[in-house]
């Protein structure tokens, strides 16, 4: 007789409908992760009460923690479902608890709409402006320490963990969140990107920008890719301070 594991999942049928909980029981297999649990439930969507239901909807893509699509709140902590291994989760609590991320609109069940983060990337111009496809020659040299820091910042996969744990990101606030600040810092450190640094800083100086950070510093602890988010926030705080002084007294 194989071992059974229990999952309580928060369901939601549509964007505006009310969430409700359902509990499922599936057979334990070695090396299971949350995604494989959801696949097993989809194969036989029957609750512990014996009620036939719809398969649970969720979002996933790469299954190796580089795309961020399967991010959800697992046992009360936001993380990726693909790298959340069942045996570890059962050490945390007896029944695995799955909820959608709390700071994004739910599309259905565990599937959320994370488009606000992409809008934020547009707002801070998280790209390098190129005005030609022609060959411009070699780019400027980048110091290795700068390149290392930029690499760390570039690991962001827009998963939304930092947004979900941030007390300043919520439906009553305009705060853009740590992710976009990190990416603004990344492109401001690029030799070509630095030429439009002022535009990124200006975008972060209005309502909902860098000043709305509350310094809870949850973002950096929740980030699965160890992106130096609080460093980026501190650096952007410094850059906006200098930019404001220049704007007021020099320019």
């Amino acid at each position: 007789m194989s071992k059974l594991i229990r999952l309580t999942i928060q369901r939601q049928d549509a964007r505006e409908s009310h969430p409700y909980a359902q509990t499922f029981e599936i057979e334990h297999k070695p090396q299971m992760n949350v995604i494989s649990c959801l696949q097993d439930i989809a194969a036989r969507p029957v609750t512990v009460a014996g009620e036939q239901t719809t398969p649970v909807a969720w979002d996933c893509n790469c299954l190796e923690e580089v795309c961020g699509a399967c991010t959800m709140v697992i046992n009360g902590r936001v993380r990726q479902a693909c790298t959340a291994l069942v045996d570890n989760l059962l050490k945390e609590q007896a029944t695995i608890d799955l909820k959608p991320m709390s700071k994004f609109p739910v599309v259905r069940d565990l599937f959320v709409d994370r488009s606000r983060m992409f809008a934020a990337l547009k707002k801070v111009r998280a790209w390098i402006d190129v005005d030609t496809y022609g060959y411009l020659g070699e780019g400027p040299k980048v110091e290795p320490s700068v390149a290392d820091r930029r690499y760390e910042l570039s690991c962001c996969m827009t998963c939304g963990c930092c947004m979900d744990v941030c007390p300043q990101v919520n439906d009553g606030s305009d705060f853009i969140g740590p992710q976009a600040i990190g990416q603004a810092a990344l492109f401001n450190m690029h030799p070509t990107g630095a030429m439009s640094a002022d535009q990124r800083l200006e975008a972060l100086m209005g309502p909902g920008g860098i000043t709305d950070c509350g310094n809870a510093q949850n973002c950096v602890k929740a980030c699965p890719k160890e992106v130096p988010l609080t460093w980026a926030i501190g650096k952007t705080g410094r850059d906006t301070t200098v930019h404001a002084i220049r704007r007021w007294f020099v320019k």
């Binding site: 009360g76 902590r77 744990v165 007390p167 300043q168 919520n170 009553g172 606030s173 705060f175 100086m205 209005g206 309502p207 920008g209 000043t211 709305d212 950070c213 509350g214 310094n215 809870a216 510093q217 949850n218 602890k221 929740a222 609080t230 460093w231 926030i233 501190g234 650096k235 952007t236 705080g237 410094r238 850059d239 906006t240 301070t241 200098v242 404001a244």
Partner: protein
């Protein structure tokens, strides 16, 4: 009609937020340090305390200095701080990291400090407005600042309760200021890396211990000196 005001604040969002941050350190934080130093003289000796308070009262145009240097900055910092506090959703029960506790306590102590400061102003700074005839009688007798303050601690409430209120208000204010030094340094981009933040945190904690020492020792001196017995007789003849 409120639209233009909102627009002005939105337009100058960065400036207003930075002014809120700055006001917490200068002048409010600096004032807190000076104030608690003055208070600590009560522990050194009533004469020292009386002498120093008399000097402070001799500052020309004291009320104007207080208004511009203390009352207006505190009013702005408190009002805008309430708006900031309302924009956050505390989640420390779910994510109990130390920095998240500090974030949460910064808001909780802010609320306590607002209530405490209002009470404290009515209780001591403007006691001649709120104190009533018994208090006026003590003042009329040419009571020294030390005895007058000690009298305040037996007016309206039992002394034990006053001490509790002041110990809580003092601790909250000191925490709010010292943790505020740490967040000020992050906000302005003074401390960017983790090590510098840790060092500033340690320095701020050391300052908090000194300020708490000043504050609590002055409370102890005011509660235990011979003066309260004399003033008690005055207030409850």
């Amino acid at each position: 009609m409120t639209q233009p005001v909102e627009t002005w604040f939105q337009k100058n969002h960065f400036l207003v937020r930075r002014l809120h941050s700055l006001a917490g350190i200068v002048p409010i934080g600096v004032f807190l340090c000076i104030h608690l130093y003055t208070n600590s003289l009560a522990f050194v000796g009533p004469e020292k305390f009386n002498e120093h308070v008399k000097q402070l009262h001799e500052i020309p145009n004291l009320l104007v200095v207080e208004l511009i240097g203390i009352f207006l900055p505190i009013a702005f910092h408190a009002w805008y701080g309430i708006l900031i506090a309302q924009s956050g959703r505390i989640n420390v029960a779910q994510y109990g990291w130390l920095d998240n506790w500090r974030y949460t306590l910064q808001r909780v102590t802010g609320w306590i400090a607002i209530v405490f400061i209002l009470l404290h102003l009515a209780h001591f700074r403007f006691a001649h407005w709120f104190g009533g005839p018994a208090y006026q009688e003590v003042v009329a007798k040419g009571t020294t600042p030390f005895d007058l303050t000690a009298a305040g601690f037996i007016m309206w409430l039992p002394m034990g309760l006053w001490m509790l209120v002041y110990a809580v208000g003092l601790t909250a204010s000191v925490y709010h200021f010292c943790n505020g030094i740490v967040t000020f340094c992050i906000t302005w981009g003074i401390t960017v890396n983790d090590l510098s933040r840790k060092r500033v945190s340690i320095a701020a904690a050391a300052l908090a211990i000194v300020l708490l020492g000043f504050g609590l020792s002055s409370l102890a001196a005011l509660a235990s000196g011979p003066a309260p017995k004399a003033t008690a007789a005055l207030l409850n003849p």
